[in-house]
Subunit: 123 residues, 2 copies
Amino acid sequence: MTEFTSPALDIALAYHQAWTSHDLDKAMTYIADEIVCEAPAGRLEGAAAYREFMVPFVQILTSSKLIAAFGDDETALVMYDTETVPVKSAPGAECVTVKDGRITYSRFIFDRAPFDAAREAAN
Amino acid sequence: MTEFTSPALDIALAYHQAWTSHDLDKAMTYIADEIVCEAPAGRLEGAAAYREFMVPFVQILTSSKLIAAFGDDETALVMYDTETVPVKSAPGAECVTVKDGRITYSRFIFDRAPFDAAREAAN
């Protein structure tokens, strides 16, 4: 795991640590009310929409492992792998902007294909 | 675009610059013969397999934009957006290990879902 300390990275890692520990309440303390998140399925605006997006993922999360994390004053870039109930390896990457200790913007990348396949197989 | 200079990042960015300029021959000069790449569709081993994986993507690539890039001595983490013929916004993230000026390992994340959808729509 490669890690480089920075103000933005501290927040990104605290956020990461919280949601991967299934503590979404704590995770949301690092998310700005006005967060904008560009996720694979589209743009999310506001903390409520962001939380709604995270809830089902946190529910199926069984474990996670940080792959690399870097940052500077305002930006952090984090890559990790997750294991979930339907998908054994579901890595993700997030590039976040941090202002006043909270994440105001997140660009979020993961592969939806194995989740789509698991959903189809279950139906 | 956030950028942090490091030996590994220099190589990652030179590689990135080459393939996003459609110069796969030059890009491959930064790829180790024994590269291992963990991509969404599975594990690729060796420069020939890696090149084969990149060729169709470079062919449909119309533009790209670096979102963030960081690195240290041996590791670089890069996120970018690409525009391709079938998919308007296809962002990717790569975490690479660099040894002796070449990328020996790459963890590669992108969302296959919009490519799958475009392929289905075309059939």
